[in-house]
Symmetry: C2
Subunit: 279 residues, 2 copies
């Protein structure tokens, strides 16, 4: 953690009464910083707004978030901005207070030193035994209830394994612990629907739009392990990594050259392009 703003002040401590701690009652965004500016700012804010709407939470003012993001990004060429919004303190038990005072926390981190795996062809991944939580009201949004991903990520220590895929209780593949999954059959793409479980990633939405522009079909649907076994290639996306081609999943090897490489390049570029948020 490099810097922290809590409700606009340099403050790295929080009330132990905060509902973010008690119930995970809040949302977050992890935003890539390049050249002192956030990437995909408007997409992150749009997802935050969707989450706030789902939780019945007033979203913090976009202009305040923009000002604080600019302040925390200044002087940090490359890194990450984590934005947390909680419902704040109050309420008796699970019931939210009638007039909550949401709390916003912005944290900046230095870039992780991990090398670009696409330079080495791609990443090795595995399946996790921990199931992804299923709840249609919580699917898609980036809320603070992330124990399923924590337990899944705890399943391996091997630094050669970059990510683990999680399945729901029906056995369908939901995505990685921290990434969205795309499956390429040689002609078209498919990605897990995020209506029961999973998360609608910002780079996932970039990928969906880029594919549409490139005339490549990409369908959001349930993804079975069988579909993956029969696929030509896989790639993973998130805001921090951009795009990771997969070279191996358990015993199955993939040739990343057979992926739609121009499309992956476009997605990667878009995900890593800094933009000042709309004023």
């Amino acid at each position: 953690m490099l810097r922290v703003f809590t409700d606009g002040c340099e403050q790295d401590r929080l009330s132990v009464g905060d509902r973010g701690l008690h119930y995970g009652d809040g949302l977050f965004e992890t935003i890539l910083i390049r050249d002192g500016m956030p990437c995909l700012w408007n997409r992150h804010l749009a997802r935050l707004a969707l989450g706030a709407d789902r939780l019945g939470l007033a979203q913090p003012s976009r202009s305040i978030l923009r000002e604080e993001a600019a302040r925390i990004c200044a002087g940090l060429d490359d890194g990450l901005l984590k934005l947390i919004v909680t419902r704040g303190v109050g309420g008796r038990g699970y019931r939210p207070p009638a007039s909550p005072h949401p709390r916003r926390i912005l944290l900046s981190y230095a870039s992780s030193p991990s090398p670009d795996p696409s330079a080495q062809g791609g990443v090795v991944i595995r399946y996790c035994a921990t199931p992804a939580s299923v709840n249609r009201r919580l699917a898609g949004i980036k809320h603070l209830n992330r124990l399923d991903a924590v337990l899944a990520r705890q399943e391996w220590d091997d630094p050669q394994i970059a990510e683990g895929l999680m399945c729901d209780d029906a056995g369908d593949v939901v995505g990685g612990t921290m990434t969205n999954l795309f499956v390429w059959d040689g002609v078209a793409l498919a990605t897990p629907a995020v209506t029961r479980s999973g998360l609608a990633g910002t780079v996932r939405s970039v990928a969906l739009e880029s594919a549409a522009r490139a005339g490549i079909a990409c369908v959001e649907r349930p993804i079975t392990r069988r579909m993956i076994e029969e696929s030509v290639g896989l790639f993973l996306t998130n805001a921090r990594i951009g795009v990771w081609p997969v070279v191996r999943l358990e015993e199955q090897s993939f040739d990343p050259e057979r992926l739609p490489v121009d499309l992956l390049h476009q997605i990667r570029q878009a995900a890593q392009t800094p933009e000042w948020p709309d004023p």
Copy 2:
């Protein structure tokens, strides 16, 4: 909040880097205080141990917890003790640190002034539209991922409605937002299994044992709305309320006199009996 101990010190602020906030990576217990002593202490500690085992988290020392609980209960005749254990600060992303420093937070609250509803015959309850989250690895334990209960509790404002029942994605009834449910068919009891969803309440375990001692069958199983429609009576349990007979669920009325009242009395007594924790 009356008093707060964080890792043994009077400290009501927490690092914003704590994993309890970021991911809900932790556990809690809500413990009734009577005559300056906790009730069902050993059951609460046993569930905490089960949860810590599930999360791969070292449980805080029982003797330290006992000492701090005694300290916070002293001078508080009646009230609540909330005990939170998080995985503390650290780790990159979802991955827990190799050697976490769990944090323990004890908070005391004055007793809520709500009257005993059994004095008025029982409580009025409803169904919630928010589904209960499904994850077999997280079912049963009292972790900090409670957004499903928060959203369900947000569905009603009417102070006449004491609780809402939640169903899982299959439509089976999991329990109340903050209570366990028991269904009485006139001969035997049933309560939702907590293997896919829901929470293994401390008073639920008291009820299961009390029923066994009284020679009343009580089965843990999936509970359908149909079973509830055909039931003779319902009651709810948790550590704070003890036992609540139900007089009405939506349009269905119940006569609490038809419940096994001696059993309910035994459960209520056991739930509200202060005990010093084993040294």
